[in-house]
């Protein structure tokens, strides 16, 4: 290969790091620290070896647990933390893949790659720089996590194994995203291809782990996520699965480079399909356009939450039974929520986590306004007889209704699955659904802040993501770190009544709705007054 095709990768790495100077450190640190929190909370909830062994027993006897988190390989605090962290593999993989696509296909679609391609930058420089940045970020996640775990007193070998398994999962999906970015002309298509692949890999592992006794265990070995769990951190670590992961990284990276060499800049390998020559009769409003642009996200989030709801609802009964074995835990849970049933507490907690996740969707739907503005697509619309507010309203409807639809899908599925296993759908379904929907006021607060930034400080609109990360950290780790109450109260998710089971207290819900409305009104009024700033 000609050496010139790599030229300029160094400058591109600096460019990508500069562009990502906020978001990259955020995801590296958050993903590296989450397992630390799991470790300390497990040590606190199950202080004795005996309690942990009993907990492992309930996990092992529950197929839904195996489906969701995978198998548990030991009863030490470390092994349980590693088991509980298994979803983190998915998060690291997702963050890695999306970052690679953002710096390859998204840039190319926007024509920025063409501009760079004409300078002294080689054909493969963009792909190379994106992969180097993400591989390094993954390694940073792994090493930071390992150092942190060792710092909390866990064995060094297991900590290193857990950290590196996270990094390797990130590498595999970064390389896979490198391939997807070559295949399609649209960044959106490349993203959905990668997310679908990730979902498939998760499903293979889940089915393989559940069906292990039935001879389905080999399916796990088709899944890179499965390989990384088979490293067995803190339970007689096995290092050879890393060879599988590195092999996959090598094959995928080589494929990405071969595809990249064969195609033109801007083109994909998969040819685009032609569209209709004329618009349908209903395609005549900003709302209709917003529907075309945002419906994919709505379907994806609703379907994803329905699947997640089924899994969460399915494990609820055995999770509650498992929790009942730990008297100390019951005490803690009673103190926290004052709830009657353990399953209720479980749903209140999981729905709170779903609400945090769906806030990302709400922020994304709001910030679509900013994307349309910076990409210059707002300008031709606002030059027609569409007012500023009408234009914004189309997208904002999705920020309002989208999270509601996703939470409703999650709540319905969870209520149905739990109702079926508990034998009382008529009672449980509305209770769990209410637990999901009561979260909405908290979801609207970050969306309102994103809209405020868009209207008043549009160049800083991306800070919305840092705010969400702060809420996530406050919720997940704040109490464990012993932060004062006023700090915990900064997060809107702290103020949600604990449903099902708890008392509904309307004032905080009302206050959050009023706050969101005020934030939105201030943002929209700023947007009406300000210049368009591409």
């Amino acid at each position: 290969m000609n050496k010139d095709i790599w030229t300029g990768a160094g400058s591109l790495i600096r460019l990508f790091l500069r562009k990502d100077r906020l978001i990259l450190p955020v995801w590296v640190i958050v993903l590296a620290l989450l397992p630390l929190g799991y470790g300390s909370s497990i040590a606190e909830l199950y202080p004795s070896e005996e309690m942990r062994a009993r907990f492992v027993g309930t996990i092992a006897s529950n197929p839904a647990m195996a489906a969701f988190y995978g198998p548990v390989f030991g009863s030490s605090v470390g092994a349980l933390a590693a088991w509980r962290s298994s979803l983190n593999l998915i998060f690291v993989a997702l963050a890695s893949a999306l970052t690679v696509i953002r710096h390859t296909r998204t840039d190319e679609e926007a024509g920025r790659r063409e501009l760079l391609g004409a300078t002294a930058v080689g054909h493969h420089a963009g792909l190379t720089a994106a992969l180097i940045v993400v591989f390094s970020a993954d390694l940073a996640v792994g090493l930071l996590m390992a150092a942190g775990l060792i710092g909390t007193g866990l064995p060094a070998a297991g900590s290193l194994a857990l950290g590196l398994s996270m990094a390797a999962a990130g590498w595999v999906f970064a390389a896979a995203a490198g391939v997807a970015a070559q295949l399609s002309e649209g960044a959106g298509t490349a993203r959905s291809m990668t997310v679908t692949a990730l979902g498939l890999v998760f499903a293979l592992r889940a089915v393989g782990d559940v069906g292990e006794s039935g001879g389905m265990g080999w399916l796990t070995w088709l899944s890179p996520i499965g390989w990384m769990q088979r490293v067995r951190p803190y339970a007689d670590e096995r290092w050879w699965p890393f060879a599988l992961a590195l092999g996959a990284v090598a094959v995928l990276t080589a494929t990405a480079y071969r595809l990249s060499a064969r195609r033109d800049i801007g083109a994909g390998i998969v040819p685009p399909r032609p569209g209709p020559a004329a618009a349908g009769p209903g395609f005549r409003s900003p709302l209709a356009l917003a529907w075309r642009l945002q419906r994919g996200a709505l379907y994806g989030w609703s379907a994803g939450f329905a699947a997640l709801g089924l899994a969460l609802g399915g494990v609820a009964k055995s999770a509650a039974d498992g929790l009942a074995e730990s008297p100390q835990l019951i005490d803690i849970l009673e103190k926290l929520g004052g709830s009657s049933g353990l399953a209720d507490t479980y749903f209140a907690a999981t729905m709170n986590i779903l609400a945090l996740a769906v806030s990302a969707y709400a922020i994304q739907a709001v910030l679509r306004l900013r994307t349309e503005e910076t990409e210059g697509r707002a300008e031709p619309l606002l030059a027609t007889s569409v007012g500023r507010l009408r234009w914004a309203a189309g997208h904002l409807l999705f920020a309002l209704a989208g999270p509601a639809a996703a939470l409703a899908a999650g709540g319905l599925a969870a209520g149905l699955a739990y109702g079926l296993s508990a034998g009382d759908v008529g009672r449980e379904l509305p209770r769990v659904l209410a637990g999901a929907l009561v979260q909405l006021p908290a979801v609207y607060v970050p969306a309102g802040i994103a809209l405020l930034l868009f209207g008043l400080l549009p160049r800083l609109a991306a800070l919305s993501w840092a705010m969400l990360a702060a809420f996530l950290l406050l919720g997940q780790l704040g109490a464990l770190l012993g932060l004062p109450d006023w700090a915990l109260d900064l997060s809107p998710f702290t103020h949600i009544p604990r449903l099902p089971g708890g008392d509904v207290s309307f004032p905080p819900l009302l206050w959050m709705l009023l706050l969101s409305a005020a934030l939105a009104a201030a943002g929209l009024s700023g947007w009406r007054r300000r210049d368009l700033r591409p």
């Binding site: 004329a278 990409e375 210059g376």
Partner: protein
Amino acid sequence: MPAIELNKLTKYYGKHLALNQVDLRVEQGEVYGFIGPNGAGKSTTIRILLGLLRKDGGQARVLGGDPWRDAVTLHRRLAYVPGDVSLWPNLSGGEVIDLLGRLRGGMNPKRRAEYLERFALDPTKKCRTYSKGNRQKVALVAAFASDAELFILDEPTSGLDPLMEAVFQQCVREVKAEGKTVLLSSHILAEVEALCDRVSIIRQGRIVETGTFAELRHLTRTSISVETALPVAGLSELPGVHDPVVEDGGTRARFAVDAGELVRVVRFLAPFGVRSLVSAPPTLEELFMRHYGEGIEAGGERR
């Protein structure tokens, strides 16, 4: 009532003075040229006319209304083609044309089909596959197929090939014949000269020249480079000839000539046995270098 009237329009970007007391008056039914180099303030002026930017000083009227306050009602009566057209990658060109037309308040389906044909645009292609020129055509078809009374075109031909540029010029002449008003911003003098009744030249946020082309005759000199069999004598005495440079003992000459004097100069040259003659319209950059090169410092002014 003029279609567009700007009076001492001023705009700052932070501390940078982007528009400095811009005056502009476009009468109904005329094609008005708005020319200047990149970054001179053409697009800023147009965005204020469209209510996309706020003015910091002066007055602006479009079709008798306030471009910021009355944006929605005014936009029903005007069509806009941006210089850099960005479209939604997963929509087809035909969908975008229909959407923009409908949001403006309706379009004529016959004209839509006609303009698609004339601009040779395939409306079934997804916007992500369009070249810059084709994206520009989408915006042009959407604009010309509308029933707007005012067309605001911001460097609309920057991605078009010469054939399509000719189609574009024909379209502008047709809407003019229907009595509609066109504001055409450009940095190509020949295009503006071919279409416009009057022009304003903007440079560094300031209008430096306004008038008909006859009034701006001194701006429209043609550069001539000629090679003759016999040495040319007496060239510099001819009226309308500027900056002559004679080489090779008089058989090679370069000079600029006022547009109205071109016939006389060609007749004068013929007896010397013309071997080759190259004429070029002046580029805008040359004009600026010649007329405004001194006295206007580079870079914007500071508040």
